[in-house]
């Protein structure tokens, strides 16, 4: 039996050093910090810098004004249009990187055994293909609005930075299928919440046709979330029972 829940040597806790730790504790108590002569606290500095900071960036102007006119959507002008373009750009970036995330999970799915209640390769493939289709849908919508689907909008940049740990964990050869799915769970939770907002925004702006297509995408995402949550739950619960299965890759 070998899996990522195995116990072994882990030196990070203070209890690893029963002789040195009391002395180190004593050292910290003796060497108390002196008060700074400059006398500003970090919170004040952070507040000041937050007030002075420039924005992450801006939403690009529509690439084609002609395209903008063709849509004949009076509501989609000025500030509202830029909010919609920004959020469409965010979903586009997320779905595109989500497709790459599922490619990484598929690799782990092939390398590691699944478990009772765990994912089948076909299901992971289905999620992958749906993320890809959502990416395509968002490209279409942005193009329809006269916007540039290749631009990175501020919300896209933030969304990718917020989830920067996901490809990092999923691409690590040391992480198991179950550990990767814990990462996918975070992505799917965010994805569901963001699609819901995007649908509301589309309706608000009179884009009912787009909203209907987004609802279809949301139904896909809801299924992804239910499944991934179930796979992670069964993996963790199984590991804590006598039914615990080996989750290391089979040696070639």
């Amino acid at each position: 039996m070998s899996d990522a829940f195995d116990t072994g040597l882990n030196r990070t806790g203070i209890a690893t050093s029963p002789i040195d730790s009391p002395d180190v504790l004593k050292g910290a108590q003796v060497g108390l910090p002196v008060h700074s002569s400059v006398g500003r606290d970090a919170a004040a500095a952070r507040r000041e810098l937050a007030r002075e900071a420039e924005p992450i960036g801006h939403v690009p102007l529509p690439a084609s004004l002609k395209g903008m006119a063709k849509t004949a959507m009076t509501a989609l002008k000025g500030e509202k249009a830029s909010v919609f373009i920004d959020k469409l750009g965010e979903r586009l970036a997320f779905e595109r990187s989500g497709t790459r995330l599922y490619e990484l999970v598929l690799l782990k799915g092939e390398a590691y055994p699944t478990w009772e209640g765990g994912p089948a390769i076909a299901e992971l493939r289905e999620h992958h293909d749906e993320e890809l289709a959502h990416f395509g849908l968002l490209q279409e919508c942005l193009t329809q609005l006269g916007a540039d689907p290749t631009a990175m909008t501020p919300s896209a940049d933030l969304a990718i930075n917020l989830s920067i740990g996901l490809p990092q964990v999923l691409s690590d050869p040391r992480t198991s299928l179950r550990e990767c799915l814990e990462g996918v769970l975070i992505a799917e939770l965010a994805d569901n919440a963001c699609w819901e907002t995007l649908i509301e925004l589309a309706r608000e702006l009179g884009q009912s046709e787009m909203a209907t297509r987004f609802e279809h995408a949301l139904r896909n995402e809801q299924q992804h979330l239910r499944r991934v949550q179930g796979w992670v739950r069964t993996a963790v619960l199984n590991a804590a029972t006598p039914r615990r299965q080996d989750d290391r890759p089979a040696a070639h």
């Binding site: 002075e52 900071a53 420039e54 924005p55 992450i56 960036g57 801006h58 970036a93 595109r96 990187s97 989500g98 497709t99 790459r100 490619e103 293909d129 749906e130 890809l132 289709a133 959502h134 990416f135 395509g136 849908l137 490209q139 279409e140 689907p149 290749t150 631009a151 990175m152 909008t153 501020p154 940049d157 933030l158 990718i160 930075n161 920067i164 490809p167 990092q168 964990v169 691409s171 690590d172 050869p173 297509r213 279809h216 995408a217």
Partner: protein, 395 residues
């Protein structure tokens, strides 16, 4: 307009001061900034980093100059901080890497076209085609690992396509050593080119060595290891152009001049107002440092600086795209290889380099694995298939 060094005194050393808030100032916006502003920030970090590295080496060998070196070096280190901290936190190491390769391509292409010495120009073109390939490999990694589009950063200035394949760039160290320029006859521009390229390549090497292990993906880790090794080759190549018989003080003067030259080039063409003001300030600081070192040179070497160094700087670096030049160079010189200091056709490459390459690539080539079948498409290689998928399933 060339800068007249005779009439520029710059800021005196004791007036070159910073606060922490200035050193860690406001970054540029990675989304809104022009790609060449990012290119300039990356290059100037490299120029400063080379200066700090060189002045430390000099201090170890020149006891009598250690006080002057310490004074100037501290300022240089702070200048490097101010410049490097302009890079924003939301620009990932891989995105910044794409910027590094754009620096290598556009800077080297500009230099190769202006280089007056035909042999040196050939050296620069040889290096150019290798860095050009690195951009393609990293762009493939960015697309396939992160779902990103490298053109968000290169902004359609630079082609993203294969150059001399990275897997063929690995050589024996003796095939990376070139013939140095003649310090008596080489033009000032040739000397500046060598100093600038050593700086750019050295920082690129150091950056890849630093960020490579932070990647989890095993192919990314191998790719950074592979390209860092080529950057070390490039440092060897460009460093070998600078003749060892130049005195330490002469080399210090050329370092200062290369800083004046590059900051002036940045200042002259910068479009970002806040960053333009930074280049102007740094230029004034460098002119002050140059005046100081010029005094040291004249006092200690007992000869007029004007007998060795130019009074006017050459025409600045042109920050613009060089796609046509790069394409023509690819067309003509893709298959060149190195045999010692000479450039030869592929079939005349020495066995020692072939042997090095076979050994390094024996478990596979990361640069080939990462980009197999990949070509750049707007929005990434998935963009077209995604549209087809959407038509099929989401109508």
């Amino acid at each position: 307009m060339p800068l007249d060094l005779k009439n520029e005194r710059g800021v005196a050393l004791d007036k070159q001061r910073f606060s922490w808030k200035e050193l860690a100032g406001k970054p540029y916006s990675k989304l809104d900034v022009d790609a060449f502003t990012r290119v300039r920030v990356i290059l100037m970090n490299g120029i400063e980093s080379e200066q700090v590295r060189f002045l430390h080496a000099m201090a170890r060998m020149n006891h009598e100059l250690r006080a002057d070196l310490a004074l100037v070096r501290r300022i240089e280190q702070h200048q490097q901080t101010l410049v490097n901290w302009l890079n924003p936190a939301d620009q990932s190491p891989l995105e910044t890497t794409i910027g590094y390769e754009q620096v290598a391509i556009e800077l080297t292409a500009d230099i190769a076209q202006k280089e007056p010495d035909p042999y040196l120009a050939q050296v620069h073109r040889f290096g150019l085609l290798e860095d050009f390939d690195h951009l393609y490999r990293y762009a493939a990694l960015y697309d396939r690992l992160m779902g990103g589009d490298a053109n968000n950063f290169t902004q359609s200035y630079t082609d993203i396509r294969p150059g001399r394949p990275t897997e063929l760039e690995h050589r024996h160290p003796l095939d990376d050593l070139r013939t140095p320029y003649d310090p008596q006859t080489a033009k000032p521009l040739s000397k500046l080119h060598a100093y600038v390229l050593v700086a750019a390549e050295h920082q690129t090497h150091d950056y890849y060595m630093h960020v490579g292990p932070f990647f989890a993906d095993p192919v990314a880790r191998q790719l950074y290891a592979e390209i860092a090794s080529i950057e070390e080759q490039h440092v060897t190549q460009y460093e070998s152009l600078i003749p060892a018989q130049e005195s330490w003080l002469t080399k210090w003067m050329w370092h200062e001049l290369s800083e004046v030259y590059t900051y002036y080039s940045c200042y002259q063409q910068e479009t970002h107002p806040r960053i333009k003001a930074i280049w102007e300030r740094m230029l004034q600081y460098e002119l002050g440092q140059y005046a100081h070192v010029r005094g040291l040179f004249e006092r200690l070497e007992k000869r007029a600086a004007a007998s060795v160094f130019p009074d006017r700087l050459p025409e600045p670096i042109q920050w613009k795209q060089h796609r046509q030049f790069v394409r023509e160079t690819l067309e003509r010189e893709l298959d060149l290889r190195a045999n010692g200091a000479k450039f030869v056709e592929a079939d005349a490459e020495p066995e020692r380099s072939l042997q090095v390459r076979r050994e390094l690539n024996r478990d596979g080539s990361p640069s080939e694995m990462v980009a197999a079948g990949w070509s750049w498409r707007p929005g990434g290689e998935l963009a077209t298939s995604a549209l087809r998928m959407a038509e099929g399933s989401l109508q």
